[in-house]
């Protein structure tokens, strides 16, 4: 009988496809939260598989901090065109200009938590009842507690102490008007699984993930790319390093690592020998022990 079991990548793929189809069946107006990072690219790839030969029946939604890597935006626009789906953009820049949120000040300023308001506004304005995210339980200790179908109250809040039981593969997406769900199809994937799968399926990803030369500064223990958005510090030394990024987010806080990995195979090898987690060099998570949990309770991704 040994022929009839799935290897782990097929099992994870099958689980994710099942979740996508449940979302389609249970919700009226779902979107895929698309950041341009590898996890959201993986999500769209899995969604494509789940609904083939139909198009992906959801729009992509990008919560744009305004602090982007130009490559990410290019990649996003190309992908949207290729998939033939709609793109919704929630702009943090506009929220700042409209006075909905207050920009942080100082050299450690980030727009990370400002995304919460923009995300919740975009969900409300577009009458979204389900936002599909690329969160993985292995990323972070608060994420390790998340359900596949995660309920949000009318204020968009998560209550980790009182989550609905979620047994077997029976996902309860029922809610009241004004509430919504966050759904995480790749909950059970690790960073290693993501890379192995990207390699196996040969999924296109932004060049930023591959080692390349870039101007960087050393801040909060990582190499932060120099960009027009990065607040300058006087006399700070700028280096040119061969680096690559393990995660992609706001360009002002996403740290790169020194690397020679310029192919998917080399990345897989590198990731498997890594001694630090991928979020280890994201300064947004380093702010306090419960930074992620606090943001998530308020409605963060």
């Amino acid at each position: 009988m040994s022929k009839y079991f799935l290897n782990y990548l097929d099992e994870l793929e099958s689980e994710a496809i099942f979740v996508f189809r449940e979302v389609y069946a249970q919700f009226r107006n779902p979107v895929i939260l698309f950041s341009g990072g590898k996890d959201s690219i993986l999500l769209t790839h899995l969604a494509k598989k789940a609904f083939f030969p139909s198009k992906i029946p959801f729009s992509l939604m990008h919560i744009d901090t305004g602090h982007n890597f130009p490559e990410t935006i290019q990649f996003r626009d190309d992908l949207v065109k290729e998939l033939g789906v709609d793109l919704l953009v929630g702009s943090v820049q506009e929220a700042i200009e409209d006075g909905r949120v207050l920009e942080e000040k100082g050299k450690n300023a980030t727009r990370n938590s400002l995304q919460i308001t923009t995300l919740l506004d975009a969900i409300e304005d577009n009458k979204i009842d389900c936002a599909i995210g690329g969160g993985r339980r292995d990323e972070e200790k608060a994420r390790a507690k998340e359900r596949f179908f995660s309920h949000r109250d009318e204020f968009g809040q998560w209550t980790p102490k009182n989550q609905r039981p979620e047994l077997w593969n029976l996902f309860n997406g029922k809610m009241r008007q004004g509430e919504h769900f966050r759904v995480f199809p790749i909950s059970n994937w690790t960073e290693m699984d993501v890379w192995n799968y990207i390699k196996r399926e040969n999924i296109a990803i932004p060049s930023l993930y591959f080692a390349h030369e870039r101007k960087v500064v050393w801040r909060s223990d990582s190499w932060i790319p120099v960009s027009e958005y990065l607040p300058k510090i006087e006399n700070e030394q700028v280096f040119t390093k061969k680096i690559r990024f393990r995660t992609l987010g706001d360009i002002t806080i996403t740290g790169g690592i020194e690397s020679d990995a310029d192919t998917l195979s080399k990345i897989v090898d590198e990731v498997s020998s890594m001694r630090e987690t991928e979020r280890g060099n994201r300064s947004d998570d380093k702010r306090s022990e419960t930074a992620m949990e606090d943001r998530k309770k308020q409605g963060y991704f």
């Binding site: 040994s2 079991f5 994870l12 069946a25 139909s54 507690k145 059970n188 280890g280 949990e293």
Partner: protein
């Protein structure tokens, strides 16, 4: 026995509060070198701040603020690790009775349950409750970890007497495969490495046991069941006539050319093709997510089930089941609930509570029929339209359901069909 290194094993922890479940998972991750340096740094810092002399290994899974404040687990934490032999998904669940529903959540998808027992306390009520739940859930393999052996001088007779207590308990339940390991999660004895302190124990330590336990026969490969999630009708010219029924195969094997029956309608047809994305399949099995097309144009929609003509589940509006109740609010007799079974949602009423189980004695309480939080009962349920069911013992996917309260939308109970 051959273990495929590409196979996933899902296991859960269980047992009473403070028996050391989270510490054990921390130890397992730490000794198998599955902890990243920044995670370790963070946990060393927190441990120091809380005044611990050594690293508190439970912090690897107790990630919520409230959990860290109270030093207990509240909700399931999922952790992942890989050894050269296998990939693992761990669900570390709470021991506190108040959070039993989270324990059931973590245990419902597990192949293996680690039941922890404090060597000083032996088998206690929560041990029994969790063991009973594990047996109801049909978790095929139970590994009883007698923990905190360091606090009883690593004595063999303490271990043996707990083994006897547990054998007594498990003989009253349906647990197929039980193994026993004396451990110290705190010190690491018999977790990844063989214990120097318990030379009297001859068998393998925990990790080796997890790496070698045989799980591929746990899936039902006999009864072909395909609950339809939705129907795909692409709006492009190239696939104008395509009508794909998509879903995840619950059990069994389907092949192109198989004669199938649609339930509950009873229409029959033949499988014309199966695919995952652009890959055509001749054969597909549990638990693959596929799309199927049929030779005939028949009415099929979400909630229907495709099965082979010669092997059907029961099609019925009346089921008998073991029901675990999760909600603070008691079950209301004859109130309507939404019953979610495979891809099928139907209104349902609990017609009758047959008996409640006293988890301490595993005896039936025929007089007490009030269903309150954490109770386990045998019930009769009637639904407004037919369900296609198998016994849970035969089939986890088509034998399980949850109940949802229509007023609050909460998941209030979980059932296993008999």
């Amino acid at each position: 026995m051959k273990i495929d290194k590409n196979q996933l094993l899902r296991f859960t922890t269980a047992g009473s509060v403070d028996d050391g479940k989270s510490t054990l998972i921390g130890r397992l991750l730490y000794d198998s070198k599955s902890i990243f340096e920044d995670q370790l740094d963070a946990i060393e810092k927190t441990s120091k701040r809380k005044g611990h002399e050594t690293v508190d290994l439970a912090l690897f899974t107790d990630g919520l603020k409230d959990e860290r404040e109270q030093g207990i687990t509240i909700d399931v934490a999922y952790r992942y690790f890989t050894t050269p032999k296998r990939k693992f998904i761990i669900a570390d669940t709470p021991g506190h009775i108040q959070y039993t529903r989270n324990m059931v959540t973590g245990a419902s998808t597990a192949n293996v349950a680690l039941i922890l027992i404090d060597a000083r306390k032996g088998v206690i009520e929560q041990t029994k409750r969790h063991s009973y739940i594990a047996s109801l859930l049909q978790i095929s393999h139970v590994i009883v970890c007698v923990n905190k052996m360091d606090l009883v001088d690593y004595k063999e007779d303490v271990f043996n007497s707990i083994v006897h207590q547990y054998e007594d308990l498990s003989s009253k339940m349906m647990i197929k495969d039980v193994r026993y390991i004396p451990i110290s999660a705190l010190e690491g004895d018999n977790v990844v490495h063989r214990s120097e302190n318990m030379k009297w124990y001859q068998n393998a330590p925990l990790l080796h046991t997890l790496e070698t336990v045989h799980i591929s026969s746990d899936n039902n490969m006999i009864d072909a069941r395909f609950p339809v999630q939705t129907v795909l009708r692409p709006q492009n010219d190239e696939h104008r006539d395509y009508r794909g029924y998509v879903g995840r195969i619950s059990s069994g094997i389907f092949r192109v050319g198989d004669k199938i029956k649609v339930l509950p309608s009873g229409f029959t047809s033949t499988i014309k093709s199966m695919n995952i994305h652009d890959k055509q399949l001749e054969e597909a099995f549990s638990e693959m997510s596929v799309a199927m097309t049929l030779e005939d144009e028949i009415d099929v929609s979400r909630g229907d089930m495709l099965v082979k003509v010669n092997n059907s589940p029961e099609v019925t509006q009346d089921i008998t089941a073991m029901l675990c109740w999760f909600n603070e609010e008691n079950a209301r007799p004859r109130a309507k609930y939404i019953l979610k079974h495979t891809t099928n949602d139907q209104k349902a009423i609990i017609k009758e509570v047959l008996y409640k189980v006293d988890v301490n004695t595993i005896k039936r309480l025929e007089d007490d029929k009030e269903l309150s939080m954490n109770d386990i009962c045998k019930v009769k349920i009637r639904t407004t339209a037919p369900l296609m069911v198998d016994e849970y013992i035969q089939n986890r996917n088509t034998g399980s359901f949850v109940l949802i309260d229509e007023a609050t939308n909460e998941t209030v109970g979980a059932g296993m069909i008999m």
